[in-house]
């Protein structure tokens, strides 16, 4: 191990002070001389042909600068993975998240008033809102030019599943459903666009990958990328919800068309309507095990609701298809996954990206099998987890540094796990008679970094200035700070590598004109990817400095080992170069009279490789757990026939401080990732990937009821309790 001074310490975040004093400038706080305001007109139909858009009255309103429609967009398409989404819809709308017109006016109020004067004539089309129905040949086509609504499918085959299932001693078959979720970051989308003195277009906003925003703006405006500059403000939360374009192209377009600075701030309603959601999944599973508690085979079919546009659906589906075996060594695997277009708001990236859905099925199958085998669910998992050298469903060996067993064993030790015995996890003595108490457990795994053949890379620049001693260090790396703390972690890694005071380090990360492309703030990848690039750049800069070079400036690109997409027929391939592992145990109380489920305590054991900053890791664990709790017990995103029912934070409830568990015990496990900087791997998403099945396992422990669908609101719990009582 390397001697560490700042690495591994609870060093305070470099951006905490400005945020705690109100000095941090978010995108909505920006203003400029001569600024105008933009307001969007969203589609009010989930599926319709646009017969006409009449903007005359809006344009005539005093103070209106311009009204932009589809014809005003040079290349009217964009998308993270596929350009299947219009910037402004011209011929048809495919969801109520679609944008039809943009009004630019002297004041926000005028823009809003003019927006309401636009009249759109629609001809409604039949709506398809269930992906299972959308897969059928007779379903209305969301994108008419496509042969079917199936956007993408993957198939994985390993061994002989039919034979192995037939020979299994126990078999569990279930159909699961996991719902959509709204990111509900506190800061709604906002930005400011203008033309700079050189005639280039500048967009200030908050996102997850400035260089990709720039690529998409350039494409839609049909301009070279070097005419576009994207400058990020700190993001007021992201969680995957700022991976897709929101205001970026519209602001660039508006500034370019009008020549004026244009600001746009979405309301909460616009935010909920205007950005993608977590993919709902229907997952059918058959899983077998033998008498001694070894898994024999698993067959899984996954159907994901992609919503109206592609967004990152192929990648989310690919993840779910891989991760739905759970972090287990299973000799026979058959998986079929489909992502299907519907007229719902697009589905896309959300924290843990397919893992929570796949693991919900995998882990509940584990708990149910353990019950059938009369085995402790933690012990059953420990017998089957991946170890060094295990072969996963893609018939390739899992990358070295497999920490899942350690997370499980440390979880068992620290929680003194033993279901139903005298342990820390024991029912409170003062539990009233109308409450039931239970404990549950689940494991998880998830990729770190972009998988499946994506050209993954990160570039960083290290600059050392001074005379004798290094007096100033500048690190340039376009890693978006979305609240996860990446700039703090990178400063710690740079300080450690250079052997300098971390206070000396300036991180520049937010301007495409200044910093190199670091890839996205997603896939829990920056500590690993940007950490590696910064580490390499600093190492080389230090060598140059020691050899007398002044200033010492080094640009380094880190490229991880290559990966590949599933083989079309067998699913063979190398999906990932690194994984994060975790195991969680929960303790909860079910109120038999009200149906309320109170999550009391969560033990969260996570392999982070090397803890760069334990305080920030705890922050990711605590935040991930409470976000996961929301998805399971509180949040309920409702769309009916393509229409949105939960439009605001008054309809879509997220956990408050009163809902959060009484205690979250973070167990930080360090199984070195041989490829990670100082052995580190990612942890941002992992704390919520396995919480749902752990909670459901505990509810079953408390009440004897299995839930195969989320969310489990108090109403649903109460209904299930009544049904259980009636059938007794």
């Amino acid at each position: 191990m390397v001697e560490t001074k700042v690495l591994g310490t609870r060093w305070a975040r470099v951006d905490a002070l400005e945020k705690a004093t109100g000095k941090a400038v978010f995108a909505g706080d920006l203003s400029m001389e001569g600024m105008t305001y933009a307001k969007l007109l969203f589609s009010d139909r989930p599926h319709a042909r646009i017969v006409g858009v009449d903007t005359q009255d809006a344009e005539a309103l005093p103070g209106v600068v311009a009204v932009l429609v589809a014809e005003d967009v040079p290349v009217n398409e964009y998308g993270l993975m596929e350009n299947d989404e219009p910037v402004l819809c011209g011929d048809k709308v495919r969801s109520i998240g679609d944008k039809v017109a943009l009004v630019i006016a002297d004041t926000e109020k005028t823009a809003e008033g003019a927006r309401d004067l636009i009249s759109v004539e629609y001809k409604d089309l039949p709506v398809v809102s269930d992906p299972r129905e959308a897969m059928t040949e007779t379903a209305p086509r969301v994108h008419e030019e496509r042969e079917s609504n199936i956007l993408v499918e993957y198939h994985v085959r390993k061994g002989d599943v039919e034979k192995a299932l037939a020979e299994s001693d126990v078999l569990v078959e279930s159909l699961y459903f996991t719902p959509a979720a709204e990111h509900a970051y506190l800061q709604p989308e906002a930005g400011l666009g203008y033309i700079d003195r050189g005639g280039g277009i500048v967009v200030h906003t908050a996102g997850q990958w400035a260089h990709d925003d720039r690529r998409q703006i350039a494409h839609a405006l049909d301009m070279p990328e070097d005419r576009i500059r994207v400058i990020y403000t700190p993001a007021g939360g992201a969680f995957g919800g700022r991976e897709d374009i929101s205001v970026q192209i519209l602001l660039a377009l508006a500034a370019w068309k009008t020549g004026r600075p244009v600001k746009m701030v979405w309301t909460r309603e616009e935010s909920v309507r205007g950005h993608h959601k977590r993919h709902p999944f229907y997952i059918r599973c058959r899983t077998g095990a033998n008498r001694v508690g070894k898994l024999t085979a698993v067959e899984t079919q996954l159907i994901a609701d992609a919503g109206a546009y592609c967004s990152s659906s192929p990648a989310v589906l690919a993840n779910a298809v891989l991760l739905c075996t759970g972090p287990y060594d299973i000799p026979n695997v058959k998986t079929d996954g489909y992502a299907v277009y519907t007229n719902n708001i697009s589905s896309g990236a959300m924290r843990a990206f397919g893992a929570p859905q796949g693991l919900f099925a995998a882990e509940l199958q584990m708990s149910k099998l353990a019950e059938k085998l009369r085995m402790d669910p933690l012990e059953f998992r420990a017998r089957n987890v991946l170890v060094e050298g295990s072969t996963i469903a893609t018939q390739t060996v899992v990358p070295a540094g497999v920490g899942v067993k350690r997370t499980l064993l440390e979880l068992a030790e620290i929680s003194e796990w033993q279901r139903g015995a005298e342990t820390k996890l024991e029912p409170p003595t003062d539990l009233p008679s109308h409450k039931r108490w239970g404990v549950g457990v689940a494991c998880g795994w998830k990729n770190v970094g972009y998988p499946f053949g994506f050209p993954e890379q990160c570039t960083a620049i290290a600059e050392l200035y001074g005379d004798d001693e290094v007096g100033r260090v500048v690190i340039k790396c376009g890693a978006a700070e979305v609240g996860q703390g990446v700039i703090t972690a990178l400063a710690q890694i740079a300080a450690e590598t250079l052997g300098v005071d971390p206070e000396m380090i300036e991180i520049m990360n937010d301007d495409t004109a200044v910093v190199p492309n670091a890839g996205s703030s997603s896939a829990s990848r920056h500590v690993f990817m940007s950490g590696n690039a910064v580490h390499l750049a600093c190492q080389e800069a230090k060598s140059l400095w020691d050899a007398g070079k002044r200033p010492a400036i080094v640009t380094k690109q880190y490229v991880p080992p290559p990966t590949s997409l599933y083989d079309e027929k067998t699913g063979k391939g190398v999906p990932n170069f690194s994984y994060g592992y975790g195991s969680q145990a929960v303790e909860l109380e079910v109120d038999l009279e009200t149906g309320e489920i109170a999550l009391k305590k969560v033990y969260a054991s996570h392999d982070v490789g090397k803890a760069i900053n334990p305080q920030m890791i705890e922050g990711q664990i605590e935040g991930g757990v409470v976000m996961g709790q929301g998805w399971v017990l509180i949040e309920d995103f409702i769309q009916q026939e393509g229409y949105l029912k939960t439009k605001t934070l008054a309809d879509y409830l997220v956990p408050t401080v009163k809902d959060a568990p009484d205690e979250i015990v973070s167990i930080v496990v360090e199984v070195e990732d041989p490829l990670g900087p100082f052995g580190a791997r990612g942890v941002g998403e992992m704390p919520l990937m396995q919480l749902a099945p752990a909670i459901v396992d505990a509810i079953h422990d408390a009440t004897g009821i299995w839930f195969d669908e989320l969310p489990i609101t108090a109403e649903k719990m109460l209904l299930a309790l009544k049904e259980a009582a009636a059938s007794r």
Binding site: G22, P188, V625
Partner: protein, 157 residues
Amino acid sequence: MKRKLEMDVNGKRIVLEVEASAMLVDVLRDQLGLTGTKVGCREGECGACTVLVDGMAVNSCLVPALKVRGRRVETIEGLASEGQLHPLQEAFVERGAVQCGYCTPGMIMAAKALLDKNPHPNREETKSGLSGNLCRCTGYSKIIEAVEQVAGFGEVE
């Protein structure tokens, strides 16, 4: 129609003309440039716009600006005095209670209102005092720790 508004903001007497229908949050942000107070929902659900009016925590997105005539308004910008951070600001930084930071100003103002009234709240009182403020990043643990540190319960690391 514009009306005259006179109030005390962070210890300074302010006189200005505001739209009769203007909300306090917009006057603070747009007319006084105090953008530390954030907007998250405009319906009193998220608490990001929390400021103190005569020491009481309010959602400034729901308070008509003219309602605070002659009253004392405190925002996050007024908390540190002469370069000295307020103990809550210090504790939030030290304890890792800040992630994305968008809820932070409102959360700190809500915590200040709580501690000004009840310097040693128990855990339930702390939770009640912060229950109008959403945070989507931290899971609230470190926020509670920070507030309890200032209340004299938590150990300083």
